[in-house]
């Protein structure tokens, strides 16, 4: 009974190169998507009607939709969930930075306390997950500096094998081995690969069970 809420992938330059969500209330992506839909006239908004709390509060399950919300997207990608000319989603950027800060600092503290810290980073202290009373955050870091953050329900204790699978069989296969994905020592390249998104979505769907109707 695993419920996966969302996933963040950070590269070695501390930037979020991929974000996707499956069951999230009050998502900054959903707000942006709904807003741009309104601007482009796909959805009718009368006068000063604001997006009702109704739209945003109900958990958006995307298992019944083909493509979950993903971020970042640029005009060149073929993702249709967010309008092609969407502006920078600052709320999402800030959230990604906050998440990175949390895992980075937590991992550093854990390394220091187990006296295995080094300026080269890595995860010698073995930071695996942290839990709040609403969700559990799972962390996996590769020796090349790629960091995977996965949020699930609290009951799921370990997603290490899942994160390892995602790294080995999805990230390496579809992102690293793609010659068009630029790996630059200085610049960050976001993942804009439809195969990657599709395979990841299918995998997460397989291992998780949808949010119950309670």
């Amino acid at each position: 009974m695993v419920v996966v809420y969302n996933i963040y992938i950070f590269d070695r330059h501390c930037e979020c190169i991929f974000y996707s969500e499956w069951n999230r209330i009050n998502s900054p992506l959903a707000a942006a998507a709904a807003a741009t839909e309104g601007i482009h006239g796909n959805k009718e908004l009368r006068g000063n009607q604001v997006l009702t709390t109704d739209n945003l509060d109900s958990p958006r399950s995307s298992f019944d939709q083909q493509a979950p919300l993903v971020w970042p997207t640029t005009a060149t990608s073929t993702a249709h969930r967010i309008a092609p000319e969407s502006p920078r989603n600052v709320a999402m950027e800030e959230e990604a930075k906050l998440v990175y800060g949390v895992v980075f600092s937590t991992r550093n503290i854990i390394n220091k306390l187990s006296s295995k810290d080094s300026p080269q980073g890595g995860n010698p202290g073995g930071f695996m997950s942290l839990a709040t009373n609403t969700y559990r955050l799972h962390y996996y870091e590769t020796p090349t500096g790629v960091k995977f953050v996965l949020n699930t329900d609290i009951a799921t204790t370990s997603m290490q094998p899942v994160l390892e699978m995602i790294y080995r069989n999805i990230y390496v296969e579809y992102v690293v081995k793609n010659p068009l994905f630029r790996i630059d020592p200085l610049k960050t390249t976001p993942i804009e690969n439809d195969f990657f998104r599709a395979v990841l979505n299918n995998y997460i769907r397989e291992i998780s069970s949808p949010l119950s109707a309670v």
């Binding site: 501390c14 930075k97 800060g101 590769t142 390892e164 790996i183």
Partner: protein
């Protein structure tokens, strides 16, 4: 420790998809020939091969980690073992010998006795004279892969069978360990 790397390398080699060696050798050969025609300067060809190797190397690092599940090496000796017994073994099925460690353990040599890329190749005297290193792509691969593992190294050929020496030797030197990047602070 080295026994363990040897087994890891061999296990991974067994599971990897294999391609025809001759196809690969000929493809590489025609690549070098095309570069020579395009640049007409063997020094530039060396640099270009190194750059191409770099791009391959940055991806190979993640690939090796995904296949073998290895963790960070404790020291540079272990790194050399992994390059030789896992890296070269998995992708080329050769195991270069490690030798000539410098006293501060920051430099070592990889001796390639049977480099498959040399199989059907003969260098013209002009190429030898002007300093072409035929398999220079290896140096780039090593540099790229180790840079992804937070190590800045320099790798270059010292001897090459194709130029008349008795074996091929790559000298790898650790320049410095790279620190992990820190997220930009809020101003």
């Amino acid at each position: 420790m080295s026994k363990q790397y040897k087994t890891v390398g061999e296990e991974a080699w067994k599971k990897i998809d294999k391609a025809n060696a001759e196809l690969f050798i000929f493809t590489y050969g025609s690549l070098v020939v095309q570069l020579v025609k395009d640049y007409e300067d063997y020094g530039a060809v060396n640099k270009q091969l190194d750059k191409m190797g770099y791009n391959i190397g940055v991806r190979l690092a993640d690939d090796i980690l995904a296949r073998t599940g290895l963790e960070r090496c404790a020291d540079f000796h272990a790194t050399a073992e992994v390059i030789s017994k896992v890296g070269f073994k998995v992708f080329l099925n050769i195991t270069p010998t490690i030798s000539s460690w410098s006293p501060d353990s920051k430099e070592f040599s990889l001796i390639l006795d049977d480099n498959p890329l040399n199989d059907f190749c003969e260098l013209p005297p002009k190429a030898i004279q002007d300093g072409l290193w035929y398999s220079n792509i290896f140096c780039g691969v090593i540099r790229g892969a180790l840079e992804m593992m937070q190590m800045q190294v320099e790798a270059h050929f010292i001897r090459d069978i194709l130029r008349g020496d008795d074996t091929s030797e790559i000298r790898v030197k650790l320049v410095r360990l790279l620190d992990e990047e820190v997220p930009a602070g809020d101003d």
